[in-house]
Structure formats: structure tokens, C-alpha cells
Symmetry: C2
DNA sequence: TGGGCACGGATTGTCGACAATCTTGATGAT
DNA sequence: ATCATCAAGATTGTCGACAATCCGTGCCCA
């Protein structure tokens, strides 16, 4: 193993040094969410430090943040592993999402100015085409973003903050138990939700959101999938 | 050999070293929640390290955890300060709590075995006597615990996890804007909620919880209180 | 053969020292 | 007097080295 990773000036640096951690966290996060790093995968500190060209202390901070989000599990003296939510976790998370998003959707339908929905509509379009092209990764991230942005339109930081980790974990769950076929149906649900918000029917919009989440949960294939071993370094390599 | 003879130091040690941080975090947390450390107070790392007899790195971790709970705000290169939630924060938090706790209460009323409520009832009693004796600190912590434990009876980790930080921040808010007179009325609300859960009236129980939270919010005196300076070391001194 | 047991290598956890940044207070020019 | 500037001290941020712990391997003995 040549230590050619010393390329100090090729990709890392140039970062203000403060949000370099945010970049790393986001990088790992997306890889986890699209399923490139299956649950159970070990994230060795030294390994990550080398691939990102930073010190171990910094990696340590990143892992801690990811563990706050419950995307990785930190076992004492053992290391960091991609979290592996169980069936019960999935069930709880979906129920919690229905509770929260039903309300945020209702609020948005009552209060939002329709022109604020244009970005959202475009996002669903992007998600739809991604699903049609079988681009699972983009479909998942776009779908998550849809829910995230919709919730932010309710202008309630506490509700959005409570929802955020649930959205993250949902993506992780979908990477685990997800059924690819559901992606297209989700886009349809999202379009329908937007339609109902646009005409200001808050009750129906909330119900549509609830149905969307039920459908999502119903599409899960909850048989445990064996953990496939992956080359962590290769998956995380190209940082940008 | 005696297992306790090893560490007879003044205050710290004797901790397995792993959850010593948890002890420190909890210690600071309670002090914040009972209002002994007013919002805006600076928590210097060196100072905390000395008073707890640990290294700065440890304190650093603790502060990071507290900042994740949004009880302290971490300003880059400036230090850690007790968080100071604004009016809008308070409003959002109460709305979010109503959304979540309405549901958890409803679930509990439908599913819980009544003998499971005895601890809860005792807790409300404790809270009531604390309120009567003007023991504000205990009343606040007991009230928080009531909501926390009640939510855990719904057996939904996601909902409980989403609620937890809201309960914490509510206590902080109450320490800031709280009206002491409300404490007694809160205990009454709690008794009433338990009554309704016991007879299995889930709708009324949920409504009672909602009213409890509305009452709580209504009792806030939202004029900004000037930050009183405190001696951080003295407040945190007696650990254990 | 199979189950401890100890040892060496690898990995995580902790610490103290140093670098970077902010705060304070004094200085001086307008 | 007011404000800008700038050093000196105090505080936070980062790093590399060392300590503690874990894991796989080979050995020993029943």
C-alpha cells in the first residue's frame, strides 16, 4: 500500500477547515442513504482518515455526528458501524412520520402561497424521471428532499427538526428493505399531494400525505437481507 | 480485595471512565433545566474541566452533546453558552408537542394496562406537593419526567425520541419565561390526564393533554428577562 | 478433537502540548 | 471625547503520541 494518499493539495484542503467536517459527513451520509454502504459495514477511523486526507480526530467528530443522526452506531472500543434499523424501528418511524407530516402538510395547505410550490413541483418531476430511468439513488434522495422541503414550508422549526432524523432513517430503511417498484408510485403520491395543497384542500392534502406514507411502508419487504461486504474505501473515494 | 478502596479522591474518579461524561452532562443538564444557569451564561471549557476534575477534551465532548440537545449553543471560536430560545421557538415547540403528545396519549389510553400507571400517578403526586411547597425546581423536573414516561408507554421509540428534545427545551423555556403560579395547575392537568387514561377514554385523554400544553404555553410570560450573571463554578460545584 | 489461554497486532480512546482565534485594554490620532 | 488600531493575555481548536482495549491466532492440555 503506497502512501500516495499524501496528495495533500489535490482534492482536500482549500476548505476553510471548519466545514470540512460537514462535507465529509454529508458525503458519508449520502453514501449511506443510497445504500452504497450497507448496514453493518464497519467504518474504520484510520481508513476514513486516509481516504479523506484528514486526521483521525476529525473523522471521530464526523462519526459522532452521524451517530447522533442514528445513521451509524458507535460501539464502545469496537468502532463505528452503519446502523441497521429493525422492523420495529421501521414501524415506529413510519407512524411518527404520519403523525408529524399529516400536520405539516395541513399547515402548508392552509398557509402557503402557491408560487412557493414551484420548486417542489420541479423536484417531484425530477424524482419521477429518475424513477422512470431506474435511477434509484436519485429517486431516494429527491423523495427525501421533497418531504424535507415541504415540511419547512410549515415554518415550524421544532416540527421540521423532529422530522429530519426520521426522513434520514427512512432512506436508510428503504435502502435496506426497499422495493424498487415503489419509487414511481411515490412520485405520483407526491404530485397528488401538491395538487391538493394548491387548491387549498388541507384535509385532503393531509390525508394524501398519510396515504403516501402508508403506501411507502406497505412497499417494504421486511425480510432481512444478508449484509453484503463492500470496499469502504472505494465507495467513499471520490470526494468532491 | 475491597473494590471501593481504589479511588478515594475528592470527588471525581471512581467512575468507570466511560459514563463519567454522561454524569457530567446530566449534572449540567439539570442545572440548566431548573434555571440555575440562565440562558446566555458562558460555559468555559477550562473552568468546567477544573470543577469536574477532568480534562478539557472530555468537557468538550459533553458540551457537544448538550449542543446537540440544543440546551447549549456552540459558537465557533467563541465557546459554549446556555441556549436562549426565543418566542418563536417556544411557540413552535409547544405546537410540536401538542401534535406528538396528543397521539402518544391517545395510544397509551387505548393500550396501557392500568397498573402501569401507578408510578406515573406517584410522580404527579410528588410534583403536586413540590408545587405546593414552592419547590419550583423539583416541580419542573417531575413534570418533565411525567411527559417523558407517559410517552414511553406508547412503545414508539421514534415518537419518544422526537419528543425528548422538545421536553428538554420546554423546561429551559419555562426557566426563562415561566410563571411559578402555573406549576400547581399543571399537576391538576396531569391528574386529569391520568384519570381519563385509566377509564380508557382515549379521545378525551388526548384532548386533556392538548389542553395541558395549551395551558402551559398560555402561562408563559414572554417578556424577555435580563440575563442574570451567575457564578458557574459555584452552581456546578457539588457533583453527585 | 475441542476448549480455554495467552500473546501480538491492529484499532479505538485519552491526553498534553501547540497553533489559531478571540477579547481586552491601552494608545494615539482626528 | 470618540473611534480605530494593535499588542498581550486568555480561550478555543487541532494534532500527534501514547495508553487501553479488542480480535485473531497459535499453543497447550484435558
Amino acid at each position: 500500500m503506497s502512501k500516495s494518499a499524501k496528495n495533500s493539495k489535490s482534492h482536500p484542503s482549500a476548505e476553510p477547515g471548519d466545514d470540512i467536517e460537514e462535507v465529509i459527513v454529508e458525503h458519508i451520509r449520502t453514501r449511506v442513504l443510497i445504500g452504497a454502504l450497507p448496514p453493518g459495514t464497519k467504518l474504520g477511523e484510520e481508513l476514513l482518515a486516509e481516504t479523506f486526507g484528514v486526521t483521525r480526530s476529525r473523522i471521530r467528530q464526523c462519526l459522532q455526528r452521524l451517530s447522533y443522526e442514528q445513521l451509524v452506531e458507535l460501539k464502545a472500543n469496537r468502532g463505528a458501524f452503519i446502523a441497521s434499523p429493525g422492523i420495529k424501528d421501521a414501524k415506529d418511524i413510519f407512524e411518527a412520520r404520519r403523525v408529524i407530516e399529516r400536520v405539516t402538510t395541513e399547515i402548508v395547505a392552509r398557509t402557503v402561497l402557491t408560487h412557493r410550490l414551484r420548486d417542489l413541483r420541479r423536484k417531484v418531476d425530477a424524482q419521477e424521471t429518475a424513477a422512470l430511468h431506474g435511477n434509484r439513488k436519485m429517486a431516494i434522495t429527491e423523495a427525501g428532499d421533497f418531504h424535507r422541503r415541504l415540511s419547512s414550508l410549515a415554518h415550524n422549526a421544532a416540527l421540521a427538526g423532529a422530522l429530519e432524523p426520521l426522513i434520514l432513517r427512512t432512506a436508510l430503511i428503504f435502502g435496506l428493505y426497499g422495493n424498487s417498484g415503489a419509487m414511481f408510485s411515490v412520485a405520483e403520491h407526491h404530485h397528488r399531494i401538491l395538487d391538493l395543497i394548491e387548491i387549498g384542500d388541507s384535509n385532503e392534502a393531509a390525508s394524501a400525505m398519510e396515504r403516501c406514507l402508508y403506501a411507502l411502508e406497505g412497499n417494504l419487504d421486511l425480510r432481512r437481507v444478508g449484509d453484503a461486504a463492500v470496499d469502504v474505501r472505494r465507495v467513499l473515494q471520490r470526494i468532491l
